[in-house]
Symmetry: C2
Subunit: 406 residues, 2 copies
C-alpha cells in the first residue's frame, strides 16, 4: 500500500537539505542555491536531456555517478551554466566546494544548474555562500531547497509517499522545478528524488528509466526540450529493508509503484505551473492498439499550441484535438475516434467516430472554465492507454518569455 | 531572367477569377468564396497535407486531378468541411455547382475549404451565390479571389513573376491563405498557383513536389499541421512556349526558378502574417554537412515557442537558438556553431563556436526591434544551407486562438 505523506526531499530517513540566497540572483529575497545530503553513501541513478546541447553540470554529474554511488546534490538557479567556455570547470568547483564544507568527496556529488543559457557562471557567490548553505542543512530543509531551485515557477513542487518493502516501511520524496522549456526527452528539467529504501544502483536505474517514459516524458509546457534536463534519484538504504538487488519481485514492483506516485504527482505540478498557465490539461488516450500509439497521440494533443490556446479561452474546439492526433505520427483510424471533455463541472461528449456531435456550448464553457481539464480520447482500436500532462497557452507565457533575461 | 510583376492568380494568360460573399460567414462584408477558371484545360499538380485527418475537399480534389488535368478552382473560407459525416458529398456538390454555372465538367474542378473543423458545411448559400460568383469572373478578379480565401489573415497574399521559356514570355502567379495552423508537411494551407507555360502534368508535379521541400515545408507559424493543407498549380499552356515534357532541360530549370520566386514570396507573406505576428523571422542555416541537416536545424529554430517569444520581446536570447538546434534532431557539432542576428538596423554576432561572446544589449535591442529579423546560423561543418520562415509569438496569437470559433 502506498500512502501520500507531507514532505519532499527530506522525507526519507537520513536526508537533510537547505536552500539559501548566495547572490547568483540579484533579488536577495530569492533563494538561489540548494544542497541535499545523505548521511551515508546512496545508490544513484539518473536520466538526462536528449538535447545535443548539454549543460556542463550534466557532464560532471554523469562522471560522478558512473559508479552508481552519490551522497549529495548541489543545484543553483539563475544561471544554467550551459554554452560557457569554462562550464565544466565551474561545475567541478561547485562539487569541490561541497567537499570542502561537508567532507563528502567531490566525486560523490550530483551537480545541477538552471537559468539563462550562455552567460558565464561566477563561482564567487557560491564559494562565499557555501558555508552558510552547508552549515544550515537539516531534516526540515526540504522547502528551502525546493524554493532555491525555482526559476519562473510560481509554486513549490514536492511530493512524498510511504510504502512497504518486505514488511519494512520505506519512504520516497522528491522536488522539481518546471515552468518553461519543458518538453523532456528521457528526463526533465531538474527533478530530485530521495528514498531510504535499500536498492541496488542497477535496479534503481531500471526503475527510473522505466518510470520516466510514462511520467516526465509525457509532460510538455512549450515543446522546448531544455539543455539541462535531469532527473536524479538517491537511495540510501536507511529504511533497513532487504536490499532490492534486481529489477524484479514484489518489493521492486512496490518500489516502482511508490516512485510512480511521486513522479506523477510532480508531473501534474510541473504542468499546472507551466509558464503563464491557468489550467492543467490531462489527456487520457485509451483503446490504442499499442502503448506507443497511445503515448504519441496523448502527447501530440497537449503539445498543440492551437489546442492550448483554445483551452485558455474555454473554447470546446475539439477539431484541434483530432488535428493534433492526425499529425502526431501515431497510426490511428480517424473514423473511430471519440472525444470527451471532463472537469469538476461535469463531462461532455463532443465527437463520436471522428465526427462532431451536437453539444451545449453553455455546458462546454462551464466544463472548460475549471482549472483542471481532462481530455478523454477513445481510439476504439485496442486496449492500451497513456496519459500526458500539459497546460494552456496564455498571454502570460508570452510576457514571461518575451524578456526572460532581464 | 525572372522579373516580379504586379498581380496574382490572373497574371497568366487565360485565367479569370472572382471572390464574393455567399453567406457561409455571417459578416456580410467578408468575401467567403473564390472561383478561378482557365479558358482551356490545364495540366494540374498538387501536394496535400500529411495529416491523417484530411479534409473532405482533398479527397475530391485528388480524384478530380488524378488524370493530370483541371480547369477550375472553387474554394470557400469560414468552414473547413472536415470531420463531417457528409463532407465528401458537399465537396462534390460544390464541383457540380461550378459545372452548372460555367459548363466546366465537375471532374475538372479543384475544390478546397478552410475554416472551422467539425461543423457541417451548408451547401445552400453556395448554391444560391454561385450564379453571382461565376457571372463575375474576370481577368481583374485576382484580389477578390485572394480576399475570399482569407480567414484570420490580415493581408492579402499574392505574387507574380514573368520569365522566358524557349524565348517565349510566360507568367506564373499565385495566391495563398496562411495565418494559423501553419506547419505544412508536403503542402501548405491553401496555395493556388497558375501559369500559362505549357508543361506536362508529370513535369509540373515534379517541379511542385521539389519546390515545396524548400518553400512551404520550411514555414511554420505554430507547429500545427492543418487537416486541409493543399497547394495546387494549374498550367494552361496559353503562353505558347514549346511544351516542357520532362523534368529536365533549360526551360524546365527556368520554370522551376520562376516557381520558386512565387512560392518563396508567398512563404514570406504567410510567415509575416502569422496569427498575431509582429515580426517575420527568417533563419538561414549554412555550413551544414548535408541539406537535410540544414533544413531540420533552420526549421527547429523558427518552431521554438521560447525563441519566438524572445523575438517578440526583442530579447537577444541566442541560447534558445542553440537549444532548439540541439533538440531538433539534426546531427550537428554544437562546439562549432556561430549565431548572428541581422535586420535593417544592422548585424550582431552573439555566439561563436558554441559559446556566447560579449555584445551590446543596446545594439541587440535595435537590431531585433525591426519587423524582419534574420537569424544566421553557421554550422561550420560543410557547404549545404537552408532557409526557414516563421514569426514571433505574441499576445495576439493567444487572443485569436483562445476563442476562434465565435
Amino acid at each position: 500500500m502506498i500512502t501520500a505523506i507531507d514532505g519532499g526531499i527530506c522525507s526519507a530517513k537520513g536526508f537533510k537539505a537547505n536552500g539559501t540566497h548566495c547572490g547568483i540572483r540579484r533579488n536577495r529575497s530569492k533563494r538561489d542555491i540548494a544542497l541535499v545530503v545523505s548521511e551515508v553513501p546512496a545508490s544513484a541513478a539518473a536520466v538526462y536531456t536528449q538535447n545535443l546541447v548539454k549543460g556542463a553540470p550534466l557532464t560532471v554529474t554523469k562522471k560522478n555517478i558512473e559508479n552508481g554511488i552519490a551522497r549529495a546534490i548541489i543545484c543553483n538557479s539563475g544561471n544554467a551554466n550551459t554554452c560557457n567556455a569554462n562550464g565544466i570547470e565551474i561545475a567541478e568547483q561547485m562539487c569541490g566546494l561541497v567537499e570542502k564544507h561537508t567532507g563528502i568527496s567531490a566525486s560523490d556529488v550530483v551537480v545541477a544548474s538552471t537559468g539563462v543559457i550562455g552567460q558565464p557562471l561566477d563561482i564567487t557567490p557560491i564559494a562565499e555562500g557555501m558555508g552558510e548553505l552547508a552549515g544550515g542543512i537539516s531534516a526540515d530543509g526540504d522547502k528551502a531547497a525546493a524554493e532555491a531551485i525555482m526559476t519562473t515557477d510560481t509554486k513549490l513542487k514536492q511530493v512524498a509517499v510511504k510504502f512497504s518493502a518486505g514488511g519494512v516501511e520505506c519512504r520516497i520524496g522528491g522536488m522539481a522545478k518546471g515552468s518553461g522549456m519543458i518538453h523532456p526527452n528521457m528526463a526533465t528539467m531538474l527533478v530530485f528524488v530521495t528514498t531510504d529504501a535499500a536498492i541496488s544502483p542497477e535496479a534503481l536505474q531500471c526503475a527510473l528509466s522505466t518510470d520516466v517514459r510514462d511520467s516526465f516524458n509525457m509532460v510538455s509546457v512549450d515543446g522546448d526540450t531544455s539543455t539541462n534536463d535531469m532527473c536524479v534519484i538517491l537511495a540510501n538504504g536507511l529504511a533497513g529493508n532487504a536490499r532490492i538487488e534486481k529489477p524484479e519481485g514484489a518489493d521492486y514492483e512496490e518500489f516502482c509503484e511508490a516512485l510512480a506516485a511521486v513522479t506523477r504527482g510532480l508531473c501534474r505540478m510541473i504542468a499546472a505551473d507551466g509558464e503563464g498557465a491557468t489550467k492543467l490539461l490531462e489527456c487520457h488516450v485509451s483503446g490504442a492498439a499499442d502503448k506507443q500509439t497511445a503515448r504519441v497521440a496523448a502527447k501530440s494533443v497537449i503539445c498543440s499550441t492551437l489546442f492550448k490556446a483554445a483551452m485558455f479561452g474555454a473554447d470546446a474546439n475539439w477539431g484541434r484535438v483530432l488535428c493534433a492526433i492526425g499529425y502526431g505520427g501515431a497510426q490511428v483510424d480517424v473514423g473511430k475516434i471519440d472525444v470527451d471533455f471532463r472537469s469538476a463541472a461535469g463531462e461532455l461528449a463532443v465527437c463520436r467516430a471522428g465526427a462532431g456531435i451536437e453539444f451545449s456550448e453553455e455546458t462546454a464553457k462551464k466544463v472548460l472554465s475549471e482549472s483542471e481539464i481532462e481530455i478523454l480520447v477513445g481510439l476504439n482500436s485496442g486496449s492500451e492507454s497513456a496519459v500526458a500532462w500539459g497546460c494552456d497557452l496564455t498571454y502570460d507565457y508570452v510576457k514571461i518569455n518575451g524578456d526572460y533575461r532581464t
